[in-house]
């Protein structure tokens, strides 16, 4: 595949990530089941991760492993920073999901329901 | 010198005499309007000294310290307000006088009354402080708008920006004549005339101290010295509000002799009292709580906003 073709294909990633983020946000807004809200949070997270990774993609680039002596102006490699960011973001996303799930378990135990419409003791 | 300002003029003693005199005149005039003979003009003073000699009872349910101290805080802040208001062009702390400071200082007597009432632990006082607070919220909105429109009007004339400084307001009135002579400020002046009775708590806006409904509200448990001080606060507030009106809207006159100026100032204060307090008190009955609130936030605020808009239009 030529560089320009790959370059054109990367748009799929962006569309996909925007699509995922939109679905996630829609889930958080429209669904009343708090389990689904947690799932929505996860989907948003995946969408963002996909977006970050795509940002760092460089068509035809090599893996960013080199010593400082090899670094000359012609070296062509994938941007390593977004990968590090994605890794951090994945970890954070996992933690968010874990925390949210533990809260959901506790809420289910205490309220006996997962319906957000009934989990509203604090209001007004 | 500061001690002189604080204690004698325009501080405690002056306020004491002027306030109680105003209260006496007010009572006498109301009585005459109602075809009664009325008490002597010095009656509030007699009352004050008599109450000082009476026993002070602290109810069992009261928080003793707050109950006793509250009245003094109100008195202190009223005296402080008197220092900041230019009386016949003279203010003790020229340079620190500022209309927003005065706006806030004027709320402290109400707050002290509220705290004293709350500390007495009586349910009547509970209702009373709630009403006092509603009254405070009612008149604060028009008062704020009035003061801001004066600040803009004076600032326009005195070089561009705005001013919150009382000294500049006085200087403006010295050179351009009283503020009330501006067309745009007339609605504000009328609004201010309505603010005065509510601030003081006289009929028809005496919802907080309604004797017939809630037995003097916050003052229900008071006796002896604290009650005397609260009555004094009421009288001094009367003087201070009228003095504020006079220096805001009718200032700027000068005869050259200071004592005469003060006398004229006091006479104007009496006139304002007669217009805004005595007449209103003699001819009206008490309004309901929500009526007071509605009146101030619609009619009086409307007048004040009209004034503000006129000032912005440059009239």
């Amino acid at each position: 595949m030529s560089t320009s073709e790959v370059n054109g294909l990367i748009i799929v990633n962006y569309i996909g990530s925007v699509f995922l983020i939109a679905i996630g946000f829609y889930t958080m807004m429209a669904k009343k089941n708090i389990m689904k809200i947690v799932i929505g949070m996860g989907i948003v997270d995946y969408g963002i991760n996909l977006l970050i990774v795509s940002v760092g993609f460089n068509p035809g680039g090599t893996a960013p492993i080199f010593t400082i002596n090899e670094l000359d102006p012609g070296t062509f490699f994938v941007d390593p920073v977004p990968q590090a960011l994605t890794l951090t973001s994945i970890v954070i996303g996992a933690c968010v999901t874990a925390l949210a799930l533990s809260l959901v378990i506790k809420i289910k135990q205490e309220y006996g329901t997962l319906d957000a419409g009934q989990i509203r003791r604090l209001r007004g | 010198m500061i001690l002189f300002y604080v204690l004698i003029f325009p501080g405690f003693l002056f306020c004491f005499i002027a306030g109680l005199l105003l209260a006496g005149i007010d009572r006498k005039l109301v009585a005459r309007m109602q075809r009664r003979i009325g008490p002597p003009i010095l009656q509030p003073m007699y009352d004050f000294f008599k109450l000082l000699g009476k026993e002070t009872i602290v109810p069992r349910a009261a928080s003793r310290k707050t109950f006793l101290i509250a009245s003094t805080i109100g008195l202190a802040s009223l005296v402080a307000t008197a220092l900041f208001i230019p009386i016949a062009g003279f203010s003790a702390f020229a340079g620190v006088a500022d209309i927003i400071v005065i706006l806030y200082l004027l709320t402290i007597p109400a707050v002290s009354l509220i705290l004293g009432g709350a500390a007495s632990g009586s349910p009547y006082a509970g209702v009373g402080i709630s009403r006092e607070m509603v009254a405070l919220m009612s008149y604060e909105l028009p008062l704020v708008i009035i003061l801001l429109s004066i600040g803009k009007a004076v600032g326009n004339a005195m070089g561009g920006g705005i001013t919150f400084s009382f000294t500049e307001i006085c200087a403006y009135q010295m050179s351009f004549g009283p503020i009330i002579s501006k067309w745009s400020m007339i609605p504000a002046a009328i609004a201010m005339l309505f603010v005065i009775p509510c601030e003081i708590g006289s009929r028809p806006f005496d919802i907080a101290e309604a004797e017939t409904e809630i037995c003097e509200g916050p003052l229900v448990e008071y006796s002896g010295t604290p009650l005397a001080v609260f009555n004094l606060n009421h009288a001094i507030k009367m003087f201070i509000m009228t003095a504020l009106f006079t220096s805001l809207f009718l200032g700027g006159f000068s005869t050259g002799i200071f004592a005469l100026d003060v006398l004229i100032f006091f006479v104007i204060c009496v006139a304002i009292t007669v217009i805004s307090i005595t007449l209103l008190r003699a001819v009206t009955a008490r309004l309901k709580v929500e009526q007071v609130f509605k009146f101030y936030w619609s009619v009086v605020s409307g007048l004040a906003v009209l004034s503000l808009i006129l000032v912005w239009l440059g009239l």
């Binding site: 807004m29 604090l122 | 928080s63 620190v96 709320t107 919220m137 912005w312």
Partner: protein, 638 residues
């Protein structure tokens, strides 16, 4: 050595958090570790005051010595300029006092090592956020502090609504964090750097669609963290459910972290505060927060929930002032930020003390505690007067500055709309007073219910931080000129002149070299329209002291005439007047106060009550409406 202090101030907190886990059940050791970590962090911050605030240096600290290569910031850096340090001081004061308070306050709960671990993580997260010079690290720290705050909100998971509040906080927090992360990603994709200073140079006057989108997302993200309207219900829930010492952090510190983020975004990163429509939208958000917060507070029945709504209202003041984009406005905003930390901290600690003593914060159940807890009542009054802005307390000084700033803005723009902002600000101040009158009437004054007859004053370790906060409140009100000179003015200077920051991070002359432009500064000059002099407060204090002196002079005679009965006495002379009604029928409930006010505005209150429905999907919907509105609005104005 001094250049290591920023990282040490962050790391000792995290180190303390991990060491706390190792302490296990040993209470004394754990408390020593926690206290040492908080104290060390504060000391490190305090040592930075001299070089930064007074000498005007900016410290840049590259982690691992990865300084910029070929004008490209490849490393992670911490930057401490005056604004960062201002917020760091604020954070460390609040954290230290709340931490000391919680030693005793939390002593009845179990699994305290988890509490202190999370508490220190939270503090470390905020400290990291305000000292970071890097957009992605700001995001990470935001996430850390959101986690810790959510977990701490749910800490007393058996109390009413704690889990629910934590879950809502988490969902709204995730929306904010996601916005920040998407914004960061978009900026990275455009400029391939995450360093704030470098981005600031590259972004200046560079508002293309992508950067506008990033700007909106970042602004929304940090607005979520500052809990302005419409993200506010979550904060109210979280503050009501969390332990008081955590409420202090959420209300005083996390909202300030959000405000810090907003200042960094609008003044520093995009330098776009010269856009009048942007100023307008920030002021509008601030004014709405101010008004909605205070009116909702008037309708509350729970002490802490009421305080939470007040913190929304006070943050609204800060937001309004920041949005004015004048030097005076920023001065007032920052001053109010630090004042809010002091007095709201004090008030939450008072609420905590009441909860510790009585076990409830319901306004309708409490009453008359001033007799049993006189010191707490006095401290509460100091806090209440400060937040209502009565002179001579600190709230007055900053509110005065904000009134003047808004009104001056109105005159300067010839726009009467800003004059109404001043009016609303002043009226909101009175309403604040009203709602604190309500609290004092129904918690500290009024009648003492029988079940609280045996309540005792809180222990000394809880009162010490409260007294310190109260002293700071009075001090910040009485000595504004020192506060201005050593804290506020340098911070305002840093907000208005971003050149120092950029020069320190990327080397002097960087902006000229890369973007071919000089870093312009907003004017940081301002004149006060009235006379703003602490002498007036001192005079007032002198008068009050004089008055007390006179009273006490004649007190020899007077006190003989003051009679009171012992609390258990039966003399009917000392009974309260009930006019025949039995005591229990005549109690005035806290929620029944201000009937006249609420009756007239009943449609508004009904609407607001229904709007705060407590359903998390609704809150998420509000958040997205805000986000979409901001995107549309900003694309239209640019």
């Amino acid at each position: 050595m001094i250049q290591h202090f920023p990282i040490l101030a962050i790391m000792v907190l995290f180190l303390g958090a991990f060491l706390t886990v190792l302490c296990g059940k040993n209470k004394v050791l754990r408390n020593i570790v926690v206290f040492a970590a908080m104290l060390a962090s504060s000391v490190f911050i305090a040592f930075l005051i001299k070089p930064i605030m007074i000498d005007g240096e900016v410290i840049t600290y590259w982690l691992g010595n990865w300084s910029p290569v070929a004008d490209y910031a490849i490393g992670i850096c911490l930057v401490v300029d005056q604004l960062n340090l201002f917020f760091a001081i604020l954070v460390s004061v609040a954290v230290l006092l709340a931490g000391v308070f919680s030693f005793k306050y939390m002593s009845r709960d179990d699994t305290l090592e988890k509490y202190f671990t999370l508490f220190l993580m939270l503090s470390g997260g905020v400290m990291g956020l305000v000292l970071s010079g890097d957009l992605f690290n700001m995001f990470i720290m935001v996430e850390i502090l959101t986690f810790a705050a959510v977990a701490l909100t749910a800490f007393r998971n058996r109390s009413e609504g704690a889990l629910e509040a934590a879950f809502k906080y988490l969902v709204i927090g995730v929306i904010g964090s996601s916005c920040i992360l998407i914004g960061t990603t978009i900026l990275y994709s455009q400029f391939h750097t995450l360093n704030l200073a470098q981005l600031s140079v590259l972004l200046h006057n560079n508002l293309q669609p992508a950067t506008i989108l990033a700007f909106t997302l970042l602004l929304t993200g940090f607005a979520v963290k500052a809990f302005v309207v419409p993200f506010h219900p979550v904060e109210a829930d979280a503050n009501a459910a969390a332990p008081s010492s955590v409420s202090v952090i959420i209300s005083c510190v996390l909202t300030k972290a959000g405000i810090y983020g907003i200042i960094r975004i609008v003044y520093f990163l995009f330098r776009s505060m010269n856009l009048a429509p942007l100023q307008f939208i920030l002021v509008l958000i601030g004014t709405l927060s101010m008004f909605i917060g205070v009116t909702m507070a008037l309708a509350q029945k729970d002490f802490k929930r009421l305080l939470a709504f007040h913190s929304i209202s006070q943050v609204g003041y800060v937001m309004t002032a920041i949005g004015l984009a004048t030097a005076l406005g920023v001065t007032g905003g920052l001053y109010h930020a630090i004042n809010h930390t002091l007095f709201k901290g004090l008030l939450f600690l008072c609420a905590g003390a009441v909860f510790y003593a009585t076990g409830t914060t319901n306004l309708d159940k409490l009453g008359g505690l001033a007799k049993r807890m006189p010191q707490t009542a006095a401290l509460f009054l100091i806090g209440a007067f400060s937040i209502s802005g009565l002179p001579p307390f600190n709230g007055f000084v900053s509110k005065w500055l904000i009134y003047q700033a808004t009104y001056e803005k109105a005159v300067e723009f010839g726009n009467i709309g800003y004059a109404f902002v001043t009016i609303i600000a002043l009226v909101v101040s009175v309403m604040t007073l009203a709602s604190f009158i309500k609290v004092s009437q129904s918690v500290f004054f009024g009648q003492l219910p029988d079940e609280f007859k045996e309540v005792r004053e809180t222990p000394v370790p809880m009162r010490i931080p409260m007294w310190i906060m109260a002293a700071l409140c009075v001090g910040a009100g009485l000595l504004p000129q020192y506060m201005m000179r050593y804290l506020i003015n340098p911070a305002v200077y840093a907000v208005m002149n971003v050149g120092n920051y950029i020069g320190s991070v990327m080397g002097p002359g960087y902006a000229e070299k890369i973007a071919g432009q000089t870093v312009e500064a907003y004017s940081s000059e301002f004149a006060l329209a009235g006379y703003w002099s602490p002498i007036s407060w001192l005079a007032l204090f002198a008068i009050i002291i004089c008055a007390f002196f006179i009273v006490s002079l004649s007190g020899g005679k007077l006190s003989k005439k003051i009679h009171s009965d012992s609390p258990s006495g039966l003399d009917p002379k000392y009974d309260t007047f009930f006019s025949g009604e039995a005591n229990e029928h005549s109690q005035v409930g806290g929620s029944d106060l201000f009937w006249g006010f609420k009756h007239n505005l009943r449609h508004y209150f009904d609407f607001m009550h229904n709007a705060h429905s407590g359903v998390i999907s609704d809150y998420a919907l509000w958040a997205f409406c805000f986000l979409s509105f901001m995107i549309v609005y900003l694309f239209i104005i640019v």
